[in-house]
Symmetry: D2
Subunit: 346 residues, 4 copies
């Protein structure tokens, strides 16, 4: 498969050469869009499995004007890149990563390298554990330095990012009891991938809220690892919107601490995480197309539990935006390069 490198919108002259493996899905499409507008990235290759040979704009009509053809996901196609994003189905990243040269920086959007514990991997995902890469959530304490020094970074999952950003500071500050966390989180349909399944058809989804994997979602392991939560009940729900995750995270309050202050302290310098003014609650549409996460917290007047609500774009801060933010840090660029703080709304 020949690669057309003359990307219409790339204008960086000494840019970083970037490839996207698994570019035909929704996260892949969003990666291409963000990369095409990134001042330091030159998009040199995009690969896909069954759609290799198709123009990118045939697979992603929103990219009409991007002159690039999808290649096969093999070492040759990816070999010219300084930076490779892997947006592959779970379980396929390890094989592709193994064929990339050592100096190439890689961000994996899949789950393969997120967990430290092989046992937890097997419990939640099944099969053999591929290994552990640097965990790519820059807003966690110490994470920026670790990411800056890494060549291989495992991007946070979309649900996980939404929930960890809401919960981690509360547990770290001793405000929330890590042994009694209850999460209900709803996701837009792009989070379920570009898979031709009857239950994802528009006719079934519009007007509908439907829970799935109730009581046993695989992101629980990742959330517990990153937050220190000991017990966490999670109910994921599919919502009738293309993008966005809204997580309601509740926990028993400890020591009369103020959950909103804990969040403000944790994210004072984070350009993409906004603790909203008191009385304003996050909603997903406000984050669409951006790399921002919006947060708010209160204490329930009846039960006294802490309630934190967190919203982000599952394809933005939950996937492609997050991945580019990690890559920016890996290359020593300002964290916000090529990323939008502002959502596209309404």
């Amino acid at each position: 498969m020949h690669i057309h490198a003359e990307v219409r919108n790339a204008e960086g002259s000494m840019g970083i050469r970037v490839a996207v493996a698994g570019a035909s899905g929704y996260a892949g499409g969003e990666l291409l869009r963000v990369i095409a507008g990134h001042p330091e990235f030159d998009l040199v290759a995009a690969t896909a499995h069954s759609q290799a040979g198709s123009p990118v704009s045939a697979v992603h009509p929103q990219l009409a004007g991007l002159d690039l053809t999808l290649g096969a996901t093999d070492a040759e196609t990816l070999s010219g890149a300084d930076l490779v994003f892997l947006a592959l189905p779970h379980g396929q990243s390890a094989a592709v990563a193994a064929r990339l040269a050592e100096g190439v920086k890689v961000v994996d959007l899949g789950a393969d390298f997120r967990l430290e514990s092989a046992e937890q991997w097997t419990r939640y995902y099944g099969g053999g554990h591929a290994g552990t890469w640097t965990y790519g959530l820059p807003e966690l304490p110490g994470a920026r330095a670790a990411i800056a020094g890494a060549d291989r970074v495992a991007n946070t999952g979309c649900y996980a990012a939404t929930i960890i950003l809401a919960l981690a500071p509360l547990i770290a500050a001793g405000v929330a009891d890590p042994e009694d966390v209850v999460v209900v989180a709803s996701s837009g349909t792009s989070g379920a991938g570009r898979n031709a399944k009857v239950n994802l058809l528009a006719s079934e989804i519009m007007g509908d809220l439907s829970p799935y994997k109730v009581g046993a979602h695989q992101h629980v392991a990742e959330i517990k690892q990153a937050t220190g939560a000991g017990s966490l009940s999670m109910t994921p729900i599919l919502a009738p919107m293309p993008r966005g995750i809204l997580a309601t995270v509740t926990a028993r309050r400890l020591n009369g601490g103020d959950p909103r202050e804990a969040l403000q302290a944790a994210y004072a310098d984070a350009p993409f995480v906004h603790v909203l003014p008191e009385g304003s609650w996050p909603h997903t549409a406000a984050t669409a197309g951006s790399n921002s996460c919006h947060l708010q917290a209160t204490v329930d007047i009846d039960s006294g539990r802490i309630i934190v609500v967190s919203a982000l774009d599952n394809l933005g801060k939950g996937a492609a935006g997050q991945a580019v933010q990690n890559a920016n840090i890996m290359f020593g660029l300002p964290e916000t390069t090529g990323l939008s703080v502002f959502g596209v709304a309404p």
Copy 2:
């Protein structure tokens, strides 16, 4: 205001004469639709405040063909009815009810007469407590008999119905800890009423999930009263769909009890409450346009908490359907008369 009593679709010859006060809102429109198809009800009057004088079909285009003009909400217009449904804004039911003759049966869809405790009323709603009517959720133990003997029934709130049906049997059976209940519930927009507000505009809602009244929703008092829950955290969310409520109810598990069995035992004879086969989870679209509530329960593999998911149509089992079910019981009719068990989907 003259009343046109020749309703095109009513065909009952010795029917019960029915009036709807507050017929211009969404619950009022749904009441008219259900009543028009009810074999024992004759719709004789429908009233509204600012739209008195308009044909019903001008206010509710889905009722084109219903030959009825909206009257004023006064004693004269409502005087010919054997049964009056009140679908008025909160706080207005008492004044209208006071003007109805004693023998007239009344179902109030508002909150005014739901609470037993004047103190709770003032805490959650503010203002003076109008009183307490028979609580209209037929599936609660003993409720059918109470409703059958009552002339005044207070219909359950929409969120409350969804959550009470999920929670009451678990607390009654000793399976769930009443002191640690966490609820996150999402509602379609018709639950917010037919009010011209910017935050309810389609442009703001589509693609958006937005929480509101977090930690302080007024239905909490009603839910606690009906279930015996002692502590309940509730987060309500507005979802981008016209109808439907999906509630995720979690509670600490007691005594290793089986939550699904408790639900099955409670609703074995309830025609409108369906505990789904194991592995099937409720979703809102399946209940749209019906008076059914769908339930499923499990135990979280990580936290051991009970998770119950409950779905219904906020205008159906959450409002108009429920009200007609109560009225059926009040008049000694089969509970299901004129009501649909089946949803309109997709």
Copy 3:
């Protein structure tokens, strides 16, 4: 495949025995819902291809409580029925119909038997022409008598029904020029069927309007046959809603005729076709779940062309409702039996 005949909601004692072949799709599900509430129909069998053996409620969650198992689409399963609805993929009706006994009444929701001209069939559908059955649009002049005398009726297509109801009276009355008709019609996604295709995924559809088969839709032949139009340009568009078709039909005006009066005259006695009051325009949501069609007409102030807008539910008057209306007529029942004039809205 054994058939469970004890349908929970059927209560007719001397009912007509009804079977649905192809019950797993959206039109099939709607047929089951309408039949289950029909006072003279007893649902005795529902068949499907790949999902034979599944409970109906597993395939159609909105029918929870309907105790029926899907059978195979064969002569044995269908043999006990007095009335069979065929809701099969195009091209499969002829083979199934051939195996049904002569006295059995059949309504085919597919296209196979709609066209009179074998040449037109081949042009628009390709392949061999199966034959021509009585055309099942009762509101056309003379159609009720023909349907009442028929054992085999070909149900109108969903786009075709929307457009023919708007256009036929204008051409018949000499108000519209049959040689210059332009139609743009948008359909909800259930019109595209329950097919697991990427372009029908919720993520692709929500927020999107997408035209397809532009300039060459197969319903054109059927519309011309039923209306006498000589030249018709049709652009179909997929709209982000589960149900509903809105057709804008424009034509050159002849003789200064009044298009609205022509429509009123044509449908004065049609219980399901409503010419709205002047100034009110049809919209799809008002017809959802009903068997009604809403119409309005005007003359464009700039071009002088006639504009008629027509709305109906593609699964109602465009498929299942229409089919039951035809069956009612075939069995001598009142046309409206078991069908709703009123939509489920919002």
Copy 4:
């Protein structure tokens, strides 16, 4: 009202000072988003009527992180700007523009200055004609030069832009008959503005297609002026999506010309107008958040009419994006500066 000029995301050092009058609506919000990411623009003021004094992010939650307070729409607040965008209700632009200094460049997103004919203005809008500014659709022949030399530019209307881009080249090339144009165009709800009206509520819009102003839309005058069309029938429809316009433009074909070639020739050098590959049809979601317009054309096999389909984002190429494109040209910047060619999808 004091103006906070320290906009977080503006980084241009010698930037053009920009103000937005009427910033609280949807077009105003989109303008703020685009300006905040524009490398040569410094946002110095944003004004609103009733919401003056509110932080921008309280009115536009998607702009959380933009540190700016809405001012009053008066000469003082706008006086520091080199460039002013007017996004005011129709009829208010003239008064505000009159108070701006002569050298200030102004782009008006309203209709006030679009029409050349006072008579047409009065016919379609009523009231007195404010005057005529340079018409701001850069892709029209000769328009770029006119815009580059203008200090006052009237931005094209959203429907008008969609339709003119589809139609103008066909009439100019003699391919389409200007005396027989039929347009049906559907718009997302943001095109109806941020007005608290019942008919724009989410409950009414979701699941619904509703026509309005049938046969008498005010954009007809603008379209005829810009394209040379002599007779044009237009039916506008409100669609259940927040953004996007899809126009189907049909016209009688002249001289056997090829409509697609005419479009390709007209837009060969237009960076934002994409004539799609044959067989691909425009859909609105692919243009969301971008300044692109997608086009495709064919000849109807039955009627021989030309059918052109045009899609764009009503807030992008139909309003804010178009306005920034015009401003870029007015300031001698590359036309694409700060604008995205690519849509945000899904």
